[in-house]
């Protein structure tokens, strides 16, 4: 009964907000706009709320509850539309780069946090997890989406515990392992009502968005520590992190870059063009000549699609061969990976579902070649590079060795969120 009343009061509170939306002083312009946006999205719920307001009395609490449920449904529908839109955009590759995907995901979940009707944190978490599960199961290949969702869930949890402790003790973002282990004792059920939680979540989300935006910059700031004068660098294909990294280093140092074409997509050509425009001496080489060049190379610097939980890489096709050649000549392999590319997944077997993405064989073979009906052509997008072939990760927080990735994971994701399909109590 208590919860019913609280929900009811909550709806009432919202009604007041609607009525006085123009003199809603406490709202920042931004959040005010967001609220207005929310109302545009849920025209039905507004009329419902007005209705309950007019006949507001305690015996009708049950009625209002059913209305509230209905309201949620309608809200859910608009969310469903948003999710479907988001999924289809990703499926048709409207957003190509991981950075854009990350930004869009944060925006989407920001909207969810804003529009889901929640009173306790557990409600919010469960709803977000449900959406997250929907999205990740529809897009098993997009690791980045799952990373962002887990990160946001962790932000909600962090903000909740921080508010609960109400600044009694400082919450360090980089908790030590010891602290995490020992702080398990006060298991919270996320059931208490925390005032101003939404605002603090949004503040934290803003920070997170900033982190994503500036991650490439933060990585490239470390360039001078890794690239020295007259070095020969080898890179594979095109990655925005690597491009920025090399450009930053070129401000102070003179070095030479070899770029493999990365067939069949041949992204490497674009990178070579961009670098040469930036007056960096660059040489484009076919993938096959990479081994011959490797003995002269001082460092291999590559980008990555996502970092697996064991420190292995899911990265562009062809990187594994490069990493093996580098291991043969003991050339260090440096991987530029912003924190949001850290994934909680492992590769268990090469025949694993949803690890690799096979695209159209058009790049490998022309359809008009008459052999097409008689051969199977595979055109995988990714390669798996095991952690032992990686020397160093450079993230926006600094350099880490592959064996340290698990530790980073436990810091940025909450262990309860690894599996989104299981509902928390």
């Amino acid at each position: 009964m208590c919860s019913i009343i609280s929900i009811y009061e909550f709806t009432k509170l919202r009604v007041v907000l609607i009525k006085n939306q123009l003199n809603c002083v406490s709202c920042t312009p931004n959040s005010f706009f967001r609220r207005a946006f929310d109302f545009v999205y849920t025209p039905y719920s507004i009329s419902n709320k007005r209705h309950t307001d007019s006949g507001a009395s305690k015996p009708e609490a049950r009625k209002s509850r059913s209305l509230f449920k209905k309201m949620l449904d309608i809200d859910g529908k608009t969310h469903e539309m948003l999710i479907n839109n988001y999924i289809s955009n990703l499926k048709i590759k409207k957003w190509e780069s991981n950075y854009v995907i990350a930004e869009k995901t944060v925006q989407l979940f920001r909207h969810f946090i804003d529009t889901i009707n929640w009173s306790t944190t557990i409600e919010l978490l469960n709803q977000l997890r449900e959406y997250g599960f929907q999205i990740t199961s529809a897009l098993p290949l997009q690791f980045i989406v799952g990373n962002i969702i887990r990160r946001i869930l962790n932000i909600v949890r962090e903000e909740y515990t921080a508010a609960r402790k109400s600044s009694e003790e400082e919450i360090d973002v980089q908790d030590s392992l010891h602290k995490i282990v020992t702080s398990e004792d006060d298991v919270d059920d996320y059931n208490s009502i925390v005032p101003e939680l939404k605002l603090s979540i949004f503040e934290h989300l803003d920070e997170f968005q900033m982190e994503i935006e500036s991650s490439n910059e933060d990585i490239s700031k470390q360039a001078l520590e890794h690239i020295h004068s007259n070095e020969i660098i080898l890179t594979v294909g095109k990655s925005s992190e690597v491009e920025m990294f090399l450009k930053e280093a070129a401000k102070d140092r003179i070095f030479e870059v070899f770029i493999t074409e990365c067939s069949p997509l041949n992204h490497g050509r674009q990178l070579a063009l961009n670098l040469s425009k930036h007056k960096i001496q660059s040489t484009l080489i076919p993938d096959s000549t990479m081994f011959g060049i490797m003995s002269r190379v001082n460092k291999v610097i590559i980008g990555v699609d996502s970092v697996m939980a064991n420190g292995g890489l899911r990265t562009f096709n062809g990187c594994h061969a490069v990493a093996l050649a580098a291991a043969h000549y003991s050339v260090p392999v440096i991987v530029l990976a912003p924190m949001y590319k850290l994934s909680s997944r492992y590769l268990c077997s090469y025949n694993q579902d949803a690890f690799n993405e096979f695209v159209s064989p058009a790049g490998v073979l022309n359809y008009s070649d008459s052999v097409v009906s008689k051969v199977d052509v595979y055109n995988p997008t990714y390669d798996y590079v095991p952690p032992e072939n990686v020397t160093l990760f450079i993230s926006n927080n600094g350099g880490h060795s592959p064996s340290y990735v698990y530790r980073l994971l436990s810091e940025i994701y909450h262990p309860l969120d690894y599996d989104l399909s299981v509902q928390n109590k």
Partner: protein, 645 residues
């Protein structure tokens, strides 16, 4: 406001024709809703709509017959890609062909701008927006008369694709279509093609994709030319009357930058299915558009399937969600629908099982299509392109080969096999089995096209029936008609000449061809029955009377030595086919000589001409007497002349 206007102008529409006007897929799907035929467990139409959506087209007009409209609407609503499309439906019951659809569109005035026109059976991924943009700039800057860009795909295997039997001549620099022909074998290209253009591409490796980009001028053109039934009619008509209609056609050949396949019969169904499983249509592949997981060897497993441990799943196989497979069952190259139950020891190869099929133990299915909710009981053997309609129940121990089965008997034409299985017998089932597939999937399809709308069929039969072109055939029959009527009604010969001449112009027959055909017609006026009743003598007298009657006509046509030659070759041609005429051929020639229609020289020249065939030699031997007599007469006249001079 101004930006609003700009947006309105840029609306790009696509018209999807969801009615195929053929029954190639019957009985697995009927003609009206064949676009809902599942290809890799997904209706064909969904592929088409997804392709439009992913290429950025949002306004779609779907044409369907009113009978199937509800089903199509319901299906489109379930399609994931169509959610963001703005789909408008238009229906009509009077449309019998593709041309009618465009006339319908013209009447409804649904088209506001350049549009993409395609059938509901196109599977693939094509960057359509760049194509439309190119078409627009072409119209604005280069050729204002451009009305259509036809998208072709380079065929993967020219030997197996049955649709590749077309010749397209393109101007190499602009891609303009100059010539289009569907005939097999030898073709004649007009010389102007090469004279007017610096370089031309003559291509026989192109396959239709059924995607065209049209300007707003196309529906009115169809409305003006009511005889355009198909796209081929349109292309042909436009190319012939290029100057009059002031419109030109362009072609775009997809090679490397996309893939588009058209599903119009079972062999093409098999080909496109294979291409989908081999991921040429990416991102329209099972695990992206639906919940499947991809395994090595292009094997796709749906959600929640149950495979027995000893079950052997071969390459290129799809298993739909919630399906169950018993132990020791082998499947390969097969698409299995959702909710299927397959028993133990079953063998399925190169087949397509739609949703809800139930196959009991020890059955064998090869190269067949099994419709929705069919049940195949124990120990059955279904092979060699059997096609089972929806809901058929095959009794145990049945053996089926090359059969089409229905679950109910609607018109009492079918043979009853069991309570829920009726074999459909087509009258013309035995002939024209022209679709041979290398791997043995010989679904007989062409013989089923009852509708005459699909022109490729027409061309095929025409080319088999007679080696002469269509127009000449028509002219000939028309001449025969007028002559028969003229003889029976005693029409004056001058009028007959007028009539023949007008049909000569109508069918665009040249002078010599006309001579040939008129003589042929004249000699074959008697019907078969009449001929049998007549003996040799009476036949000749009757023929002679007819020839005498038509003498003015003959005189009109046979004037020069060239025409005499035509006349003689026509007589020879007819004699080859008719025994009776063969016996009196010399008499006929003699008679014509007497009537001063055939000249001496032409007969002699005809006789001297070297011929290879036995028949021609025989005739010339027969004519020896006549020739000798002629030569004698000539010498006499010569000597007479000598004397006189």
């Amino acid at each position: 406001m101004s930006t609003n206007k700009v947006q309105k102008q840029d609306v790009l529409q696509a018209v999807v024709v969801a009615n195929f006007f053929h029954k190639n897929f019957w009985p697995a799907a009927d003609g009206d809703s064949a676009c809902l035929l599942p290809l890799v467990n997904r209706p064909l139409l969904h592929y088409t709509l997804d392709m439009l959506e992913s290429s950025g087209i949002l306004d779609v007009i779907v044409f369907c017959s009113s009978g199937s409209a509800d089903r199509i609407k319901a299906s489109v609503q379930r399609a994931s890609g169509a959610r963001r499309l703005n789909v408008v439906y238009t229906t009509s019951d009077t449309c019998r062909s593709f041309g009618d659809v465009l006339r319908h569109l013209d009447a409804c005035a649904l088209i506001r701008n350049d549009f993409v026109l395609l059938w509901g059976n196109v599977v693939g991924r094509l960057p359509l927006l760049p194509l439309v943009k190119r078409f627009k700039t072409l119209r604005q800057s280069g050729d204002k008369g451009a009305v259509m860009t036809i998208v072709y795909q380079r065929s993967s295997d020219p030997n197996t694709t049955s649709a590749a039997d077309q010749t397209v001549v393109l101007a190499a620099d602009t891609g303009r279509v100059l010539f289009h022909n569907r005939a097999r074998g030898k073709i004649n290209l007009p010389l102007e093609l090469v004279l007017d253009n610096r370089t031309v591409d003559i291509r026989r490796d192109l396959v239709d994709t059924n995607v065209v980009i049209c300007s707003t001028a196309v529906p009115p053109l169809f409305a003006d030319n009511f005889d355009f039934q198909t796209k081929d009619d349109f292309v042909k008509g436009l190319l012939i009357n290029e100057e009059i209609l002031n419109s030109t056609l362009y072609a775009h050949v997809v090679d490397g930058d996309g893939y588009a396949g058209e599903v119009f019969d079972w062999p093409s169904y098999e080909r496109v299915t294979r291409d989908v499983l081999h991921r040429w249509t990416y991102p329209q592949v099972p695990e992206v558009v639906d919940k499947y997981s991809l395994r090595y060897g292009n094997v796709y497993f749906g959600d929640n399937i149950k495979l027995a441990l000893t079950c052997d799943v071969g390459n290129d196989t799809v298993v739909g969600s919630d399906s169950k497979f018993g132990s020791d069952t082998r499947i390969s190259n097969t698409v299995v629908g959702k909710n299927c139950t397959i028993g133990n020891n079953v063998v399925i190869e190169n087949s397509y099982l739609f949703n809800g099929v139930n196959v009991k133990d020890k059955s064998v299915i090869r190269f067949s299509v099994i419709g929705e909710n069919c049940t195949i009981k124990e120990n059955s053997n279904i092979s060699d392109s059997c096609i089972l309609g929806n809901g058929v129940v095959v009794e145990p121990n049945t053996e089926l080969k090359q059969k089409r089965l229905l679950s109910s008997d609607s018109n009492n034409k079918s043979k009853k096999l069991s309570a829920k299985a009726f074999v459909y017998d087509a009258e013309n089932n035995s002939d024209s089995d022209d679709d041979e597939d290398v791997r043995g999937l010989t679904f007989r399809t062409r013989s089923w096209s009852i509708n005459s709308g699909s022109s490729s069929d027409n061309d095929d039969t025409a080319s088999v029936a007679a080696s002469i072109p269509d127009d000449t055939c028509m002219f000939y029959s028309e001449v025969v008609d007028s002559l028969i009527r003229g003889f029976e009604d005693h029409v004056h010969c001058d009028n007959l000449i007028l009539e023949i001449n007008s049909s000569r112009y109508a069918y665009n027959i040249n002078y010599r061809e006309a001579n040939f055909q008129v003589i042929r017609a004249m000699l074959t006026l008697n019907s078969k029955a009449e001929l049998e009743a007549l003996n040799q003598v009476r036949y000749y007298t009757q023929l002679q009377s007819k020839l005498d009657y038509f003498m003015p006509v003959l005189r009109n046509y046979i004037k020069s030595s060239d025409s005499c030659e035509d006349c003689l070759s026509a007589i020879e041609d007819i004699a080859k086919g008719e025994e009776l005429l063969n016996t009196v051929i010399v008499k006929v020639i003699h008679h014509l000589y007497n009537m001063n229609i055939l000249s001496e020289e032409s007969i002699l020249r005809w006789h001297e001409k070297e011929e290879d065939t036995q028949f021609a030699k025989n005739i010339r031997e027969k004519a020896n007497k006549l020739i000798e007599w002629l030569k004698d007469a000539e010498e006499e006249t010569d000597s007479d002349e000598d004397d006189s001079s």
